[in-house]
Symmetry: C2
């Protein structure tokens, strides 16, 4: 299936897109905090939003606008989430889209907005609108990098991925950028993701592809198990590649979906790698569950357990915490049929416990930056895979010492 | 309703019980790790066990034995959980009950066993049986204190409560002890609780009273949200007070249930206060939810959120994390009708955000060892209350640096 190759860049790797990132003193003076991503023409759009009942104003605005399947620009600010800001928050979101549209000379209904940062604080509108105008003036084909920096909050690195593939004889690009270091950190974070492609894609098909990709990437990340009020992933397809419009009936559709998925998975992994205070990147795989739903329960219980996560930080192959989490996950579990692996070494084998020497070998695996924990329940064919990290002293420091 | 007064002591405050705690080098040489609690005569018994699918051998044995409603002794060891130990684990549990019964000269079917400590390791039977015999020889009316120490693992203090009340003209005592510092810490912990009373109580009524008491006490604690393979709460009623046998039809039954509940609530609070690394004791109250189930979802989401818990540690009235947790809890939440309080100060009032001065006043409240966080959803009459603690650097240290 793999038919793509990695290239440099992010959201402006695809033709038909320009971007910019400028500083407007919303976050910290001197840092970029307003990003603008613009398609040369109205593009097909699809989006996935937070399931949190407390949704920020920009999420509520974008939900309405992306229903039409067309968008041309996304204005993003970091430093202020515009969440829990009531009717004024909605008016501010609309007004900032309007000002960006004016500066770009396009229909305001084609402008989406995203915010990330402090909850319960109103957008500093004067600075934001000034930033939006300057960003519009600074748009360029090379601006993806500045945009990727402007959306960062507690992120320590920018997160960009781009791939190239040939589809129907045309060269096609898919690029993306994202931010997020806790799955939620309502004072200075959230998860935002932006994907672009120059392929021509039917909006409904783009929506299906994005949902599939998000389902196995951004929805499979656990940093701390919290979910934000602002989480948003937006995909834009410009059609600048000149291919015949793609949809689910196209013979090469799976190739496109696979490449989009891979971009999302890699962006997602970058977020976990940059998880607040994370020292370990752990892939949790559960197989042999009664069904996929059970596999998901077990994987989530393991990935969210503070006891399991601190054991990873402590380089402790503490399989007892793993099996206990599986046991309380709500899934069917029979300890006499359960196997637990660190890397490819078995810590618990249907009742047999690893020896001290075997445990020492597992510690060597856990000393790596990234390792796998696998649970085989031997009860069926259900499977799930999550990407997660440890809980460290630094996680506590970052989240305790950041004060309002 | 309150008709009891607090007295010194724990499980031997009630007449008809003796206890002992001895050292058998199962945990750490030099520390007590085998406790024995014995009623002079077969007593009414009720018990509540872990819901974890991976249940330890002693839990499986006791579940069977307590069904009869009668028991006379409980043998407890700390240092080894006898969990994930297969058929041999069950045989070891039965054998230790047998040896205790021999030493006591009673029917082995009347002996219960509890274990807490390392998972996946077999009981050191020789040392345990020797400890059981020595504990039987050491039983006394003053032994409750030694027993309370012998069941400790990562606990930093012993946990005992006792009350006295008059019922039907008879003086009655209810006492208890418990251990547990993480809700689960499968390598060296679990939650165990033991209640005794000299009241005569019908086994079925005792069971109903215990379930009601546990429902609002031990089941309302969140340290880290994990649940152990060994959690057990056992209540024994000796009848030594000489009262007419109590059941649900007795006019003073609610007085008994209230006192038992209060003993459980106070024991539970002691566990949270001693939570691994805890610096804050927080009572989370949710009211105005659509129904009680929704209230419970919101309270649990708040009490389990690492972001909320680290904000408590950081003395940060970060209500944004609280409302975000409410929003993703699955419960119905409308931010425009939600109020969030720290102590009696309102941080978020249906859209209005606290001022900097108000937030500073909330920090003063959070500097106390114990404080309340209350969420009023204004959607109905659903309520729930949980007792929980913060996540601190010490929590990470305790759980990361304890290696297998």
């Amino acid at each position: 299936m793999k038919r793509f190759e990695h290239i440099q860049g992010g959201v402006t790797a695809a033709l038909g897109f320009r971007a910019a990132g400028v500083g407007a003193a919303i976050k910290t003076p001197g840092r970029r905090d307003v990003a603008l991503l613009v398609a040369d023409q109205p593009a097909a759009v699809a989006a996935v939003y937070t399931t949190n009942r407390v949704a920020a104003a920009p999420v509520r605005l974008d939900r309405r606008r992306t229903r039409a399947g067309r968008a041309q620009a996304v204005l993003v600010n970091s430093g202020c989430a515009n969440a829990c800001t009531g009717e004024q928050g909605l008016r501010d979101a609309e007004r900032s889209a309007e000002v960006a549209a004016e500066a770009l000379g396009i229909d305001p209904e084609l402008v989406l907005v995203c915010s990330t940062g402090v909850i319960g604080v109103h957008l500093p509108m004067e600075r934001l609108l000034d930033g939006a105008r300057r960003a519009a003036a600074a748009l360029s084909r090379e601006g993806g990098d500045d945009a990727a920096h402007a959306i960062m909050t507690t992120d320590t690195v920018d997160k960009q991925v781009a791939v190239r593939l040939t589809l129907d004889g045309r060269e096609i690009h898919i690029g993306g950028m994202c931010k997020g270091a806790g799955m939620i950190e309502p004072n200075m974070a959230t998860m935002l993701g932006f994907l672009t492609t120059d392929a021509a894609v039917e909006p409904a098909a783009l929506d299906a592809a994005l949902r599939a990709a998000v389902g196995v990437s951004f929805n499979k990340l656990v940093v701390d198990g919290d979910r934000s009020t602002n989480d948003t992933v937006i995909a834009l397809a410009s059609g600048a590649a000149g291919n015949a419009v793609l949809n689910g009936h196209h013979p090469e559709w799976p190739v496109f979906v696979d490449a989009l998925t891979q971009v999302c998975v890699e962006l997602g992994k970058k977020m976990v790698m940059d998880g607040e205070g994370a020292t370990k990147f752990v892939t949790v795989t559960v197989r042999g569950a009664k069904d996929d739903a059970d596999a998901q329960k077990v994987a989530r219980a393991i990935a969210k357990s503070p006891l399991v996560k601190t054991s990873w930080y402590g380089i402790d192959p503490n399989w007892g915490r793993v099996i206990a989490a599986a046991g309380y996950s709500g899934a069917e579990v029979d300890e006499s049929r359960t196997q637990i692996f660190y890397g490819d070494l078995c810590a618990f084998d249907c009742g047999r416990v690893a020896t001290a020497e075997e445990l020492a070998a597992m510690q060597a695996i856990m000393r790596q930056r990234a390792f796998d924990v696998t649970v085989d329940l031997h009860l069926g064919t259900g499977e799930d895979r999550l990407y997660t990290c440890d809980i460290s002293h630094a996680y506590v420091t970052i989240n305790a010492e950041y004060t309002t």
